[in-house]
């Protein structure tokens, strides 16, 4: 018995040791790589961001991380202003996001990419404001992220804009006569869009025949919601939610032989790269997103080609948002003659001035401008999924 225990303990220790050794080697390599990069770019402005590298929403952060990395490399290759990029994991949790933010602050972050998702974004943007570190978030879309903070800016549409833009688009293009909405009522993003969609739909006289909800705990079975929409005779289903729940809805609607038009928002982006999802089900799904990977301008094409070569998948809107963020920071830094030896406070003042006055052309929209509240103005594009890729409508 005793022998057995000793053996067990020995095995555990051995397992632990090998893992530590493995990790140690790995992180050592990474550090070495970072050092090399640091050697080439002696005076780089440190840009940090937090996002859910682990957990259910990790597809966003990975995409943004990759997109930002490509932008960082391109910019550093050009000479001029140099960037050093670092992302920390926040597991989509406000408390962990603040910890991640503080870790980045210890690292010497001068400019911030805020957080990838909204709830952590609200918490970290408050820290950004307190510490006077300028933030440009790629995708934290809630209004609370920028509200009352003069140094936090968004690259994505704010949630209310998405809701009203969707209603406007559906009305303008006459996509459906009877509309059903399914939304997630314990999620900031989903319920935020829902509210503004409904108020705009009321203004425009859209006929919403069915409204049903679900929560994180009940997002496995949508038969009740789908039946409700079907019985009400809805021919357009508006789905303001993230792709994971949307993929199940598409699956279950297909299984029950219900085929309305589906209309999503930017959270739907990513559905085509979801593991184990039959992309033929997403055929004909419409979504409102500022980025399309099949656009024929040169910059988008070179970005998509680079992304595909390195990461083996078509970049989604989030990758493009993060790519744009780095370029917007680059443009602002170049205009303001910012250098890496400036403190975060000095950069903060320069950036605030630049962002409220400059116009930015990126992958996710040309002629983008920011207002005093940090919200962006740019044109949304309607996309439809055909043969497994996004095509502009």
């Amino acid at each position: 018995m005793k022998m057995k225990k000793k053996i067990a303990l020995g095995l555990v220790l051995a397992m632990g040791l090998t893992m530590f050794a493995g990790c140690g080697g790995n992180s050592g390599d990474k550090n070495a790589a970072a050092d090399n990069a640091g050697g080439d770019t002696a005076a780089a402005i440190k840009v940090g961001g937090t996002g859910p590298l682990t957990g259910g929403d990790s597809i966003y952060d990975l995409a943004e991380h990759h997109g930002a990395e490509i932008a960082e490399e391109e910019i550093n290759a050009m000479g001029g202003v140099q960037f050093e990029l670092k992302m920390e994991d926040d597991a989509h949790d406000a408390e962990k996001a603040v910890n991640a933010y503080n870790t980045l602050k210890d690292w010497g972050m001068q400019l911030s990419l805020g957080s990838v998702t909204s709830t952590p974004g609200t918490a970290t943007s408050d820290e950004n404001y307190r510490d006077s570190i300028f933030a440009l978030t790629p995708s934290a879309s809630a209004t609370t992220v920028t509200e009352g903070k003069d140094n936090v800016f968004q690259m994505c549409f704010a949630d209310p804009n998405q809701g009203s833009a969707s209603a406007q688009y559906i009305s303008d293009q006459q996509l459906g006569s009877k509309i059903a909405v399914i939304y997630k009522n314990d999620d900031v993003y989903s319920s935020g869009i829902y509210e503004t969609f409904m108020s705009k739909a009321g203004e425009l006289g859209l006929d919403v025949v069915s409204t049903t909800t679900f929560t994180t705990d009940s997002q496995n079975d949508f038969s009740v919601q789908l039946n409700d929409a079907k019985n009400a005779g809805a021919d357009l289903l508006f789905l303001p939610m993230y792709y994971d729940a949307a993929s199940l809805i598409l699956n279950q609607a297909d299984a029950m032989g219900y085929a309305p038009k589906f209309f999503g928002v930017d959270g739907m982006d990513g559905i085509l790269t979801l593991e184990g999802f039959d992309t033929s089900l997403a055929e004909g799904v419409m979504l409102l997103t500022p980025f399309s990977a099949d656009a024929d301008d040169e910059r988008t094409q070179s970005f998509v080609a680079k992304y595909q070569e390195r990461y083996g998948e078509v970049p989604n809107q989030f990758a493009a948002d993060a790519y744009d963020c780095i370029y917007a920071l680059y443009q602002a830094c170049t205009n303001a003659n910012a250098t890496a030896d400036m403190t975060a406070e000095e950069l903060n003042e320069l950036m605030k001035e630049q962002f409220t006055t400059m116009t930015f052309d990126g992958l996710t929209g040309t002629g983008a401008t920011w207002n005093e509240n940090g919200q962006i103005t740019k044109e949304p594009k309607g996309m439809v999924i055909q043969n497994g890729v996004y095509v502009g409508m």
Partner: protein
């Protein structure tokens, strides 16, 4: 000298107080001299909140001997009620400490009331059944808060459930359904957290050493025997349960007041389990162990950031190794032996010193 004449429990309690005070002083010195990383500085208040959560749950699990899986529910009830009060008060007064203390009291009272409501029917159950019901309770609190809308304007508080039907006249929305609390006045401070830990320790140690405490432990050890000597089971169970809930409520207010936003889903089943892990790792009924475990396990995931992608994997392995190591009799004996040798050295030295003095 005095330390030796005390009985064993008192001495152990004094060591726990001393440990907390020393840790506080060290951190204060670090803060004063600026020798602290912003990461650790940002974690100070959450650590205090988690310590209070751990020692209060230890009262239920370790001292009362009932398994509760919904402790985060009390934290949530306290946090949301307390912060609403804090938001109202901070419009009228600028004294942050006063606002924080008052809102913590309110949070504690609300959590205690919830504790009574849950406790009266539930504490007639025991073992697995109690665990199941408390688990459900945590989820219910989460569900309610997720659908709660509270706004504040010139004419007072507005509350609505499920649909946001607040008739607001200017003012601001305090609890916005699934978006939770936003724009929280960030009034939490490490000093208040430290004082809260000391107060909770004081209450728990004195309770355990009182007539009531002995009754509570008696019914943990043998319910039938306790009943046969005339101990009112429900009353004493409820007492421990409600005190534990009130402390969790206060910890919730402290925790929420440290962040600018808090959502209901933060206080879910996972958080309850996390706190239970603190308690189990620290030792059932062992307050000092809970404090150490809560601190270590809160700081650990952040320290492990250098492992990047393997962070949570390493965290899990460290957790397993800790569980095995603290339960390993060989290791324990070895440690005890080493400790007694060190202590023995000191004793010999002082004896020699005394002789030399003579």
């Amino acid at each position: 000298m005095k330390l030796k004449t005390m009985n064993k429990t008192t001495r152990s309690n004094m060591i726990t107080y001393a440990m907390v005070i020393i840790a506080f002083v060290i951190v204060q010195i670090m803060l004063g001299t600026g020798n602290i990383s912003s990461r650790l500085q940002g974690q100070l208040v959450p650590i205090c909140a988690y310590i209070v959560m751990a020692i209060s749950l230890n009262l239920t699990v370790g001292v009362l001997g009932e398994l509760s899986l919904g402790h985060a529910g009390f934290m949530s009830a306290g946090a949301f009620s307390g912060i609403v009060v804090a938001s109202c008060l901070s419009q009228n007064t600028s004294n942050e400490i006063l606002v924080l203390v008052l809102s913590m009291l309110v949070g504690g009272v609300v959590a205690a009331i919830v504790g009574v409501i849950v406790g009266v029917p539930v504490l007639r159950l025991s073992g697995d059944y109690l665990a199941i019901v408390t688990l459900a309770f945590g989820e219910i609190i989460k569900g309610i808060v997720n659908n709660l809308y509270v706004g504040l304007d010139g004419s007072g508080l507005h509350i609505s459930l499920i649909k946001n039907t607040l008739q607001m006249d200017g003012g601001k929305v305090l609890i916005n359904g699934p978006m939770g609390l936003t724009g929280i006045p960030r009034i939490a401070s490490f000093t208040v957290g430290f004082i809260l830990i000391m107060v909770c320790l004081f209450v728990i140690f004195n309770l355990v050493n009182s007539k009531s405490g002995r009754a509570i432990m008696a019914l943990r050890d043998n319910k039938i025997a306790a009943q046969s000597v005339g101990i009112n089971i429900t009353n004493y169970k409820l007492m421990a349960f409600v005190i534990s809930a009130a402390m969790a409520g206060m910890a919730g207010v402290l925790f929420a007041a440290n962040f600018s936003t808090v959502v209901a889903s933060k206080f879910d089943f996972n958080t309850s389990i996390l706190i239970l892990v603190f308690v189990v790792l620290g030792g059932l009924g062992n307050m000092r162990g809970s404090i150490i475990a809560a601190t270590v396990l809160t700081v650990l995931p952040e320290v492990l950031r250098s492992f990047s992608d393997y962070r949570m994997l390493v965290y899990a392995v460290v957790l397993i190794v800790m569980m095995l190591a603290t339960n390993n009799p060989t290791l324990k004996n070895g440690l005890n032996l080493a400790w007694s040798k060190i202590a023995g050295l000191f004793r010999k030295n002082t004896e020699k010193g005394e002789q030399a003095n003579v």
